[in-house]
């Protein structure tokens, strides 16, 4: 089903057995808030036939059993739920946590800080001050297990992706583009700029909770010296000295 994208929210199909509810075609605090709250509300509804609910930056995806639930019926359920409240004003889900992660900005550990600072029109010191004090939210987890997209950062950090891929960044790399961070949960190539390095492992097989972060969690990447970073990593091979606390509802 093809619909005009001029008015949000919109509901569209995804493949044969998916439905997508989109709140915006651009990233904003309120559309991500709507996405997280509406995704939680769909899960809480417990509709028969819904096999999976997941959120991305500004939309909620549902996969369903087409032998149990027809497209038209699901669409009706979704519109009824959408009309129940202004989702852009919804409260964030409960059980969120604030993580503080010791981070080395720049140096040979994160070699693209100066380039990113230049592009944003700042000195390196100003860039560390800006990025190291930003409190960002886990907007979505995606691409690879446990890997968060974090933001939004200020408009000065709305830097385009690189034209060339960096062949590989290590696990724990903090990379930046389009007013967002990604904190790598694995080693991978990237078109984003590597500005910080952490000892944070977002995905650890064999732990009771292999995936550390949940959408809606918040993070602060606290600048530390190289020697403090080394010590944190030595003492805490899982999270590199990161701490977390509950965010009161």
């Amino acid at each position: 089903m093809t619909q005009s994208t001029s008015r949000f929210p919109i509901i569209r199909t995804a493949g044969l057995d998916g439905m997508l509810v989109t709140f915006s075609d651009a990233l904003s605090e309120s559309s991500n808030r709507a996405t997280l709250a509406f995704g939680a509300a769909v899960k809480a509804s417990g509709w028969s036939g819904v096999a999976e609910v997941s959120t991305s930056l500004a939309s909620v995806f549902l996969r369903f059993d087409r032998t149990v639930l027809r497209h038209e019926a699901l669409e009706t359920l979704l519109w009824e739920l959408l009309e129940q409240q202004d989702w852009q004003q919804a409260a964030l889900p409960g059980g969120r946590r604030l993580w503080r992660v010791p981070t080395v900005f720049g140096t040979d550990l994160a070699p693209q800080l100066s380039e990113a600072a230049d592009a944003a029109g700042m000195s390196e010191t100003q860039a560390i001050e800006s990025l190291g004090s930003a409190r960002v939210r886990v907007l979505t987890i995606g691409f690879a297990p446990g890997q968060p997209y974090l933001g939004p950062l200020g408009a000065e950090w709305n830097l385009p992706r690189q034209t060339e891929l960096t062949p590989q960044v290590p696990t724990g790399a903090l990379v930046l583009a389009i007013s967002q961070f990604v904190l790598f949960a694995t080693t991978a190539p990237t078109g984003w700029r590597h500005v910080g390095q952490t000892g944070f492992r977002g995905f650890q097989l064999g732990r009771p909770e292999p995936i550390a972060l949940r959408p809606g969690d918040e993070m602060i990447f606290t600048p530390v010296s190289r020697s403090d970073y080394d010590r944190f990593c030595l003492e805490d091979s899982h999270f590199g000295g990161a701490s977390h606390e509950e965010i009161p509802a």
């Binding site: 569209r12 493949g15 995905f203």
Partner: protein
């Protein structure tokens, strides 16, 4: 515990099952066998559950030694196969005795061949499945010296064969429009279906490149699209407008736009196409797609009743009296092979 010891193995052979549905929210894509139909065929031949794990072999097999008696089945891309030098039928189930050596060679057509064990391969369960997903850090390819252990096998029956759907020659891929299709103009979508594609050389379990002459297929505002959920079957256009059909091991989100989604029942055809094979896309409506997929699902459900004892020349059978020549099992299910409607 019976099992197969790996004496020699091709690169990129891995243990696969139906993957890990339901974990997109955590960044975990479904993954699982590149050719799901082959998994179902192996399960039908061994009279066991289609959720059990099998060995997926990419283009070439290996040499295995049985550590105890066990049953096997061979499905997917047909490969040369022999047991202690005696050649084995493909798309069939066989008995293997302790110490016997199973040799599987190169694919004669297609790409992914499957070796199933009675009871399934009982490897370690990681995040709810045995499927190896290397990019995600879940397991690793099978290596020389590994043991593929059998799970508990309640079955006894072997010597069944199956006429497998030929999905190894490329051909038409039916595709439905999705939530990003209208980023492409109607003209681009029509030209996409009019284009003769060949499978490119860039391909793995994540996705397969499609190459063609002429202009690429780009979307409006291609570079400003918000990253969005990715589904297996999505046809994603890279920066230069070159299509990739994403397979089950695709990443969970992506920013390059998708023109549509290939029906799940046609994805085996994509995975099994060798480089250079002809493929083209055929738009179908959502209702048509649902009907086609429903017929395919019914065919898969009826696979157990489509498995028949392998035909052998009675003159060659020294132990004729030990065979049960008439099976008492008749399925009440309709046989889609009879209607000729094998979509």
């Amino acid at each position: 515990m019976s099992g197969l010891k790996v004496l020699r193995i091709g690169p990129l052979a891995s243990i696969q099952d139906q993957g890990r549905p339901g974990q997109l929210q955590q960044g975990v894509s479904c993954g699982g066998a590149a050719d799901l139909l082959a998994l179902a065929e192996g399960a039908a031949l061994l009279r066991q559950d289609a959720h059990l794990a099998a060995l997926e072999m990419a283009g070439i097999g290996g040499l295995f030694e049985a550590t105890g008696p066990l049953r096997i089945a061979l499905t997917g891309a047909p490969m040369q196969a022999s047991l202690d030098g005696e050649s084995l039928a493909w798309n069939a189930s066989h008995q293997v005795q302790a110490g016997q050596k199973l040799e599987i060679g190169a694919a004669r057509k297609g790409l992914y061949g499957y070796l199933h064990l009675g009871g399934g391969i009982a490897s370690e369960v990681l995040l709810g499945a045995r499927a190896v997903h290397v990019m995600s850090g879940l397991g690793s390819p099978v290596a020389v010296g590994d043991l593929l252990p059998c799970g508990a096998d309640r079955g006894r029956e072997v010597g069944l064969g199956l006429v497998a759907e030929d999905r190894f020659q490329g051909g038409a891929l039916r595709i439905v429009e999705g939530f990003q299709s209208d980023l492409f103009t109607a003209e681009v979508r029509a030209r996409f279906a009019d284009t003769a594609f060949k499978r490119g050389s860039r391909a793995n379990r994540m996705g397969v490149e499609m190459i063609s002459d002429g202009a690429g297929f780009s979307a409006a505002g291609q570079l400003n699209i918000l990253s969005e959920v990715i589904l297996p079957g999505d046809v994603q256009m890279t920066g230069d407008g070159k299509p990739f059909v994403l397979l089950r091991e695709a990443q969970t989100t992506g920013g390059y736009p998708r023109i549509g989604t290939v029906l799940p029942c046609d994805l085996s055809k994509v995975a099994q196409a060798q480089a250079g094979m002809d493929l083209q896309f055929v738009w179908v409506t959502l209702d048509e797609g649902l009907a086609i997929q429903a017929r395919h699902d019914a065919m898969v459900k009826a696979l157990p009743s489509a498995c028949k004892p392998l035909l052998r020349d009675p003159a060659m059978m020294q132990d004729l009296l030990s065979f049960q020549l008439v099976s008492g099992v008749v399925s009440a299910e309709a046989d889609p092979f009879e209607s000729g409607d094998i979509t």
